[in-house]
Amino acid sequence: MVVGKPVERVDAFDKVTGRAKYTADMFPENALIAKVLHSTIANGMVISFDLNDALKVPGVVKILTCFDVPDIQYPTPGHPWSTEKKHQDIADRKLLNTHVRFYGDDIAVVIAETELAAKRALDLIQVKYEEQKAVFTVADAMAPGAPLIHDEKPGNVIVHSNYEFGSFDSAITEQGLIKVEGTYHTQQVQHCHIENASSFAYMEGDRITVVSSTQIPHIVRRICTQALGCSFGSIRIIKPYIGGGFGNKQDALTEPLNAWLTTQVGGRCVGLFYTREETFVCTRTRHAMDFDITTYVRPDGSFAARRIVAYSNQGAYASHAHALVANAVNAFRMMYPVGAIKGDAYTVYTNIQTAGAMRAYGIPQIGFALEAHIDDIAARLKADRIALRQKNMMQLGYVDPGTTITCHSTGLQQCIDKGRKFIHWDEKAKQYEHQTGSVRHGIGMAIFCYKTGVYPISLETSACRMVLNQDGTVQLQMGATEIGQGADTVFSQMCADTVGIPLESVHVISTQDTDITPYDTGAYASRQTYVCGMAVKKTGLSLKRKILEFAAFMLHKDVSDLDLKDSWIVHTVSNEKLIALSDVAMEACYSLTNSHHIAAEETHHCSDNTYSFGACFADIDVDIPLCKIHVNNIINVHDSGTIINPLLATGQVHGGMSMGLGYGLLEQMLYDPKTGRTLDDNMLDYKLMTASDTPELNVQFVEPSDPTGPFGNKALGEPPVIPVAPAIRNALLNATGVAVDSIPLSPEHLFFEFKKAGLIK
């Protein structure tokens, strides 16, 4: 059995030799290049273009503007489509936009024979705008008299949702409650996958093919049909290896425009490769969110009533819109599901870069706010920070009243125990009491829960196909995508064990091609090992049954006496090897009397969900005069159920911790408050952590087998990012007594906080 083993990645060799092909590596020579003209105002209308000089640039083939595109508004987020109109995504943009809604909006495209010609032409296009006042913050966008960003949403609020479980108002009348309030802010950050948004498109016959760096090929196909107003069958999406996505590529980015562009030049191949700067500004970002949290707590630390109001800054276009902040306020409820709970959430259009999906989908935001708030409560009560959490946190068997998602397994307590031990919490807590001096030490921790996949909020469906080769090996095809997280490898492991063949006998087809690949919605929501893993299991069992049926025919035996183990047909009871799988496969293919091409394809329509859990513990130094935090020691401990591949799982946690450290300490997207222009649209100014900024990352797992997972497993890909920023923030509070309620904890931010607290004169 290979499930649970640290087997090497199936794509490792290709990736260390440069053989692995990414979108740009497949771009044909002498194809055309498209470059997008982006607006230089944040809000207003394009009145006209002067293209005369641009069209004179040698090599320019065509210039298309917002006045040329189909008059169709389409949605971009990578959600499963809903056939119910009220659940459908918001269609609020065109391929190029006349109404400009952020500094960098797409307004025209140059198609040229070379990149240089396209760039020269871009510089020569003259644009006349009618500029309107722009609003960049939620408060400004919600203020009376704010400019209207989308006609369909007066007041700029896309959605306001609320819930109440128990009666908040009556719960707070209980005698002796202590009220703790806090306001927390999280910033806008970017995914920073190293491969930029990239695609190219061409036509064959009257069909359009788009090769793209996407997490969601089947969804992108649907979005292209909507954007162009064409049929499903006329679009084909091919997804080769992709250089990271982290949720940004869970959105249609360059593809719809690219699909249309090839139709405008007679089907010639057109490439649309975003630069790093464009990837920063013109793709998606993590939503900045503000949270007002109030907790009424009893002196013994139990929560009587909790209240949250959340505001999410959507930016210019809806993309995934309200789904993220809704996810955030739900997690607020789920993590500590005690007492009366009341929540409100707003998603608001503004004139900044569009926000969308990013690793853990709203939960790093609430994770910061909530876990900071828990430490604030502990400080107020002079209570033990860990005990306070343990008293109120989700327990086995919990059923969320809002979503019905049930806690089928939990190792959260063990996660806390392991982290506490690793970081020497109890000794350090004593050691770090009553500090003075300019460099101080602190310990902090945070916990989280995270659901697995999107059921029941959205559809969860996944298909898998397995084809038996003549040599007894299996081609494995998934609609689910490899985006670096190791999906191809874990699916191969699952396939091997389910069918009864060694891992080397599984040939996973990494590339998705919507003409060929079974349907799946793609890589997001940490869903694939759970939802698609079940599709692998079902398909594997189906393939195995077909193989055994053919073997039974060959051996003149009853199929119930046969099993498939290690590529041999064996007797179920005696384990006697009866015939090699390769012999069965050969006969099945070439039999003159009973040729039978053995293949299986199954859909798993998932209608369950489960929580994964974890904790981060951090030990830091704070150099007060230099306003810098140094992480001495940090660990994430995760309960993701059974770990399918410890080597890859550990890597996922490392990456998430690193992203969480960047989120907590350094990263933020900055814009010019006058114009809305992004200031740090490159990797020099945007402070993605280098190897020299990253501490040694420690990882442990606890593995309660989850009864609903295909192999006892549950969500892992996204969660590691969640608890890191609040753990650091809480360690800072422990070290200095300064409760900082917004991130990143960057030097200048700390400077003003330390000044306010009197630590710096």
Binding site: V16, G18, E195, G244, G484, G651, H654, G655
Partner: protein, 160 residues
Amino acid sequence: MDKQKITFTLNHEKREEYIDPRASLSEVLRGEFSLTSVKHGCNVGECGACTVLIDGETFNSCIYLAIWADGKDVLTLEGLSDVNGNISDIQQAFIDEGAIQCGFCTPGFIMSSLPIIESPRTFTRDEIRKQISGNFCRCTGYETIVNAIEKTANSRHKAK
């Protein structure tokens, strides 16, 4: 612009090529020689995905004019495998240590690790981190990359 001849060593072989003097080395390596391990992640020398060795030193080939390679010795990731396709110890270490995820930054990291593993002196983990700090990775948190480099450097030192 008129093309210009450059003569250089590329992955151990002498090459002559007529190139546009405005071209970056990365464009020439990818375009004229199909060496697609050389990745473009920023085109401004920030991400390190296009790192190659020139006369034994690491350079971002995206901000290195191809004409400057005239007379030089250029090595890309493709030059690390032998003629039979056998990979080098550092590549194997990246596999074994799980230092690969999406793989896009991997070629650049392996190239940046060469001056470390080929150095006669021992690098601490912090020194390894400094030597790869011109390469960004968003997937791994660098932990396993440092492990792979450290392991390879150690085994080379032991072998000496």
